[in-house]
Amino acid sequence: MLSSNVTRDLKLLNSASSDNVQWTLSQAEVEFLEFQMHLTESTAEPVPDLKSLRREFDIFYSRISTLGQASIYASLRDLPEFSRNLRIVQTFLNRSISAIDASDPDLILALPDLLERTNAVRPNVRKLANSGLNFFALDSDHRRNSISVTLTQLAAGVTFLMLVLVFLAAYLGRLNAQNVKRRAEAIEAGARMNIVTDTALDAVIVSDAQGRILVFNAAAEQMFGHKAEDAIGSDLGQLIVPDHHLAAHEAGMRRVRTGGARNVVGKGRVKLEAKRANGDIFPVEFAIQAASTDEGEIFIAFLRDISQRVQSERELVVARDRALAGEKAKTDFLATMSHEIRTPLNGLLGNLTLLRDTRLSAKQARYIKNMDTSGKLLMSHISDVLDITKYDAGKLRLRPVVMNFSDLLQDIIDNQSGAALANDTTLEWGWTGARTDWIRADRDRIQHVLMNVIGNAVKFTRNGRVSVDTEVANDPSVGPILQITVNDTGIGMDANLQAQIFDDFMTGDSSYDRDVGGTGLGLGIAQRFVKALGGTITVESEKGRGSTFAIHLPIEPVAPPTDVQDQRATQANVRPSDILLVEDNEINRVVAREMLLSAGHKVTEAHNGQIAVDMAQAHRFDLILMDISMPVLDGRGATRAIRAGTGASASTPIVALTANAMADEQEAFLSDGMNDILTKPLSREGLMRVIANQVVSGKETPGAAGEGAGAVAFAYLDDLRDTLGVDALANLLARYAAEVAEVIAYLQDHANHSTEEIAQRAHRIAGSSAALGAVDLRAALIAVETAAKSGDTAQMVQAIDRLPDVWAATQPQMSAERRGSTREA
């Protein structure tokens, strides 16, 4: 806009300087005056120059017609003054044309008139010129103003431009200052970076893509033993890469240069080896990053000498391996010890058992009893230690089975009732709330725990009462909880003792040590088992008043098995069985054989698994007792072979005999096809129980053992005799006989007693009967108790009426002396 104005004004100025319009106006007047002068002369002369006159006229005419037509005079013609005079002059010319164009004589005649009109029009020509001049004066004023405005605008524009330039200059100045500052900062940062690099604890090495070293800091000098000035510029690979890694290093650099895969760059920490100036190879940990610079890609490596760390790690690993090996050695040692101690002990105890059955003097019998007691104690100590080891090693595995808890507890009570009786202590148990007999749980472990806790209660109570209360409580979050509370009125414990009672090797008051003894591991093991079963065991006690142990176990109630024969058989109704005994150890074999024979069984022996397999193929045995570790073919292999074959004994129950008590192995035995596991050393009880369990499912009825054989389970009497001695047993039996007689008399007088009292009396004597092995009498008494509790008087009376007959059959067999007839096998 501004520039177009300036250009326009420049053009106008240009035209003003050659203003032919003004010239034309004055020229018009000049030409008029020439014509007028010529005309004046012509009128005076006799022979006028008409040709010249005509030409003057034509020139003036031409001029005026140009003024009237030309577009450049259009604005001029817009002036009224100009156009009016122009019209007058044009009228004059048009009127004069006829005279000028006439013949010479006519023109001469017209000259005076022409002159007169010419003179008359002269002021108009003059005005024409002047009006033009005025116009151009005004026009030029206008143009000057316009130029002035344009120049002012130009000045403003220039000023604005100047300001912009000043601003730009300031801005550029600032940019420059910033750049200078940045450059200074960059230099400073570079210097700082150098300091950082030089003071870094890690070696810092920078190289280009060719592997030429660019930076080699102080730590690198120290680590590699090269001077920085020597290192910089030399080849990275040659300098610090060990010879055996050189090929890989150069391949890597080639890959990096050609844009291939980067195995190390930007991949975090890498461990490799490096080479010192003296040729030593040492482990380094390093990280490499790539950066792009003007000179191409560079690689920055941070390296750390990890010789010390690697050394420490190696030592740690060695130490750990050693510790693990030591731990394993310990476990192995314990396992071996368990086996190595149990096997001879098995032999020892077995032979003691056999020895006891021979004719002995009273003294010899006492010595044997003492040896047997010591041997069993030793065995229990070994078992305790082994249990703890297994639990602490996390190797304690549960073996849940379907079991009748009431039966288990009854057995334990029966087992302890003898001891309780000896202490003049009442031992009883019962359910609170609904009974839950059948559960699925680890029977052996629960038995161990209860045996321990109830055994302790009986041990520490004199002339008191031990009651075991069981109840199933439903915990909504974990399901049914079996709560067993063992309450005694014994000596109790002070707070200190309570706090330590579950600790290992904790034994009670020294005054009782003589009587009760033990490793002090009993409750420790009990607690471990309870924990393994997912339960808790707690104690509350008051010194001198008694203790209460509360055991809470989560249980899984199950439906009672429909097959009655699955129920635990009592030893009394085991029929004589045909048993294959597989055992390579001669002593063990003899012991087991003697025990089995003495129990009235038929025994066939095999010295190894292969023989056993062959025998089982040919003959159908009722039971196979299978040792595990044997030459030729071990027990597991033999079991699998028997089970896999179609021999006569392919489905015969097989019971493992093992000193190896590790739970995981026991599971393996069962999966091989074994039905049960008997832990060595063999006890007569264990052996009989297993036979009873496995063989009772036979077709024959228990009656085969002979008349009266079922009335008394002699094992209990034998145990008591072993424990108490013949004389004490005789006393006990006498007291028992008196008590039974008294109770029978009491019961027969049932009309004078409440059913509650009847049930209680029957219950108590039933417990004593169980402890002494009077199983028939116990059953009859329980029938009384059950009937009394249910309030069924007729049933009760009927049960009471049976009692004298049962007692009559039982009493003769309840002899403190050894029964000669049955043991002479």
Partner: protein
């Protein structure tokens, strides 16, 4: 050899000049243009004088253009300044053109180009009287080139032309 050619060419050129001079006949009608000064071809004394017929005999140029001195467009016919300069062998830098009323203007010979100004003797197919800026009018083709629409060119557009003097 080269020298001989140069001399021969020079001789030819010198001998050609009289031939050309003889080509221009003397005018028979009213002389409407007199060219004097640095010219090679003459017919009367040292000048070249033309009547209308002689001008019309020269190669004519015709174009249509508007002018600032008239309304609308007109068709002009005439001798281009270049043709005239060539015909007369004008040897100078400037043509001083003078009108009947002695108005004079200098036209540089560089203006005499093809498609340039003509000495018009006809406007809209009619000869021009003195009253109509005749008989001769130097007209530039104003419409064909913006460069011809300047004050300088306008001032060179002399009408009522009757003399041209070729100056150094």
């Amino acid at each position: 050899m080269l020298r001989h050619i140069t001399l021969a060419t020079a001789a030819l050129a010198l001998s050609a000049l009289p031939l050309l001079a003889q080509d221009l006949a003397a005018p028979e009608g009213d002389v409407i243009l007199t060219v004097s000064g640095q010219i090679a071809t003459t017919n009367v004394d040292d000048t070249a004088q033309f009547d209308l017929e002689m001008l019309e005999d020269l190669d004519a140029t015709t174009f249509e253009t508007s002018t600032i001195w008239s309304e609308g467009t007109q068709t002009f016919q005439g001798v281009s300044l270049k043709v005239l300069a060539d015909r007369l062998g004008i040897d100078g830098a400037t043509l001083r053109a003078t009108a009947i009323n002695d108005y004079a203007v200098d036209i540089p010979l560089t203006d005499a180009v093809e498609g340039g100004p003509i000495i018009a003797y006809k406007m809209d197919d009619a000869t021009m009287s003195v009253r109509d800026k005749g008989p001769l009018w130097i007209v530039y083709p104003y419409d064909s080139d913006a460069a011809y629409r300047s004050e300088v060119i306008y001032s060179r557009s002399i009408w009522q032309l009757d003399r041209i003097e070729a100056l150094d």
